[in-house]
């Protein structure tokens, strides 16, 4: 076991993938000499050379589009999109090419492309640097979408994503890059929990609280705070947003009868909408209350000084817990 930050765990996972398979190439803006603006690729160009860790021209469609060509040639490109808000110029290549080529080619052409996206807010950044675009990709057939929340997962999941023959949107909670944790660099990938399987972070019996990425530590705090208040919360870290591991959520909700979902992305059509709808379909008779969503507002990401009024935090999630429990809450007395 080594203690690593989440960023360093990713770095270690990338290094390992580069070493294990010479078809793995890293591509992105400023990932080589600089080591990435978050230093996630630090040192890798020096170690593997400029043909394995490739500083690209400044064009996101170009990066993803050439990665498609590299995949045709048998490579496994791992792309860094510098910030969440810069993925949109590549949207067409991702949605119309990366996601569809395996289908279009009857399985002949594989797209083992990993697209790393530092995502989410809470770092006081400028516009376009704090977005949570994951729902766009979860709605896109042909893509897998995952989000890591801690160093141990980061180290394993990035390697699983790279090893996957399907394209993976890999979301990294940038505000947790510096969080430290134990990482087992010796364990076998084959023994690891598949990236499609969710993790139960804390067990509980009153409310199931589902989240992913940067809000997982917050959700754990929620469970702690609620416990003091006599409420037992089961926190589930989704890890995979598409497909969702419904077996785990379902089993939990059947016990708790109450579901809260929280994410930074806006509510309208967010990942929480799908989970609320799907769990309602699957567990209707078990639900004691409607699933509650605690999300960012449906607004453009606000200026830094206002982001705490946008992002779900401990109090807002606790308020959601109160809502699902029918306890006094911010909407008490309000007609739904």
């Amino acid at each position: 076991m080594t203690t690593l930050t989440l960023a360093k765990a990713l770095n270690a996972g990338l290094r390992r993938s580069l070493a294990d398979d010479d078809k793995v190439v890293l591509m992105g803006e400023d990932i080589g000499t600089l080591g990435g603006v978050f230093r996630v690729t630090d040192g890798l160009k020096a170690e593997f050379g400029a043909k394995r860790v490739v500083d690209t021209p400044l064009s996101e469609a170009g990066i993803v589009g050439t990665a498609v060509g590299l995949a045709y040639r048998g490579f496994r490109p791992v792309i860094e999109i510098q910030f969440d808000g810069f993925i949109y110029p590549a949207f067409d290549q991702i949605v119309a090419q990366v996601a569809k080529l395996h289908y279009r080619s009857h399985g002949n052409v594989r797209m083992p492309i990993t697209i790393r996206v530092p995502f989410g807010g809470g770092i006081g950044a400028a516009e376009h640097h704090s977005e949570s675009p994951e729902a766009y990709f979860a709605h896109t057939a042909g893509l897998r979408v995952v989000a890591c929340s801690n160093p141990a997962d980061a180290y394993v999941m990035i390697r699983q994503a790279i090893a996957s023959d399907d394209p993976v949107l890999f979301f990294e909670p940038k505000r947790r890059y510096h969080v430290k944790g134990e990482v087992d660099e010796t364990a076998n990938l084959a023994d690891a929990r598949p990236m499609g399987v969710a993790t139960t972070v804390t067990t509980g019996s009153d409310v199931t609280l589902v989240t992913y990425g940067g809000l997982v530590p917050t959700a754990r705090d929620v469970a702690t705070a609620a416990a003091e208040d006599g409420v037992s919360i089961e926190v589930i870290d989704l890890r995979s947003l598409a497909p969702v591991d419904y077996a785990t959520i379902e089993a939990s909700v059947r016990r708790t009868g109450r579901l809260v979902i929280t994410h930074e992305a806006g509510q309208q059509g967010g990942v929480g909408a799908e989970i609320a709808a799907s769990i309602t379909e699957r567990c209707f008779e078990f639900l004691e209350a409607a699933p509650v969503r605690v999300t960012g507002h449906d607004i453009p990401y606000p200026p830094a000084k206002l982001e705490r009024h946008h992002l779900p935090d401990l109090d807002r999630i606790l308020d959601g817990v109160d809502r699902v429990l029918g306890r006094p809450n911010s909407l008490s007395g309000v007609e739904a």
């Binding site: 064009s59 050439t66 060509g69 395996h102 052409v109 023959d165 399907d166």
Partner: protein, 383 residues
């Protein structure tokens, strides 16, 4: 379009405006730079290029007819662009990889794609007709320009592997306005990628004349991105062959990409769904008919003493056979099975798709039991 419009569109066809080795009337111009690259093309080889062009023209005509008869959902005819496609296609080595648009049926022919595979996608029976790796050719790309980046990335990868194989990207005049194509030029130049950007300037992007996309010759685009650009008569199979060979040689020697503008003309509609009378004149079409890519080769062969009537007969028979094969192939294209809609969404097992497949299987089974068919509903959505 008025004549002055035409000038503005850069629809210039003076031989001094591009490289032309064979004039529309079949005269052979000497060209010190290009001639060495086609020194091997004797009269026999020229006859074979003619044969290629005649056969793909015939296949194209047949496919257009099949669409009119309701056998295909759509067909984008290549008529007029035979020299551009055959000239470049025959310059390629087997291990070069083709990333085409949707109109490059002649490339599929060059690469030995079976008739049924060529038609199946336009029939709506399949998402793609062939295995790209069996033919060194990606399946048709409909998103304008997207494939130029794929070709560039493929070429980067080939070079990184130490191979001297090249990639070639086919795209149209309209495509040059898309960001993707320009980003491909950036990447290709930056990484000295062994890729050939082959632009068929067929004067039109559906109803839009090339002058709306650019007031400059498209080949001039190349220089600003740091690569050579060459403008050839795209209806001159020898000029195209030579230009593509030069570009491929450059690529193989590690000197990077080349941009070729092949000046040609789409003689038919954009697709069988299009009515070109709405936007272009009969006179324009007539002018271009005089620059037909096949006619000039025949004229050159005749002037060189070849028994052209005999060649035409022979090739005509081959073309008849190809057309018959195409028609026959239709019957071998099976209608896809309902549940194949779920195949290949992912390469690895996926719980969500499996669940939907399972649900839909149960849904279909209901009809089996009751004897009703999903396709026979009031609405059906089918076509």
């Amino acid at each position: 379009m008025t004549p002055s419009d035409r000038d503005a569109t850069g629809l210039l066809t003076r031989p001094d405006d591009f490289v032309q080795l064979v004039t529309p009337t079949g005269e052979r111009h000497a060209n010190a730079e290009f001639d060495p690259w086609i020194a091997d093309i004797d009269l026999g080889a020229l006859g074979r290029l003619y044969r290629d062009m005649a056969i793909v023209r015939r296949i194209d005509t047949e496919a257009t007819a099949l669409q009119r008869q309701g056998e295909l959902g759509l067909w984008p005819p290549l008529a007029g662009q035979e020299a551009a496609q055959i000239g470049s296609g025959r310059a390629l080595r087997d291990d070069d990889f083709i990333f085409s648009s949707y109109r490059e049926h002649a490339l599929a022919w060059v690469r030995g794609v079976a008739p049924a595979d060529l038609l199946s996608v336009w029939r709506g029976s399949t998402a793609s007709g062939w295995n790209p790796f069996e033919h060194g050719m990606a399946v048709p790309q409909i998103i304008i320009g997207a494939q130029t980046l794929h070709a560039t990335g493929y070429a980067m990868g080939a070079a990184w592997e130490g191979s001297d194989a090249a990639a070639i990207a086919y795209f149209g005049d309209g495509a040059t306005s898309e960001g993707d194509v320009n980003e491909a030029l950036v990447f290709a130049a930056s990484f000295d990628a062994p890729v050939v950007f082959f632009c068929q300037n067929n004067q039109w992007a559906i109803s839009e004349p090339v002058g709306l996309q650019s007031k400059q010759h498209l080949a001039r685009r190349a220089d600003g991105f740091g690569m050579p650009g060459v403008r050839v008569d795209g209806n001159d199979v020898l000029a195209v062959l030579a230009a593509t060979r030069i570009a491929l040689d450059r690529a193989r020697r590690g000197e990077g990409p080349t941009f070729i503008e092949a000046v040609t003309y789409r003689m038919g509609p954009h697709t069988t769904a299009d009515d070109p009378k709405r936007y272009r004149t009969d006179e324009e079409l007539a002018e271009w008919r005089e620059r037909d890519p096949l006619a000039r080769v025949l004229a050159l062969l005749e002037a060189s003493g070849v028994d052209v009537a005999g060649l035409e007969r022979e090739v005509g028979a081959d073309a008849d056979r190809a057309a018959a094969e195409l028609r026959a192939a239709l019957t071998t294209i099976a209608d896809p099975e309902a549940l194949t809609v779920f195949d290949h969404v992912y390469a690895e097992p996926n719980s969500h798709v499996e669940r939907q497949r399972d649900h839909y299987t149960r849904y279909l089974a209901m009809f089996d039991e009751t004897g009703a068919a999903a396709s026979e509903t009031a609405e059906g959505g089918a076509r």
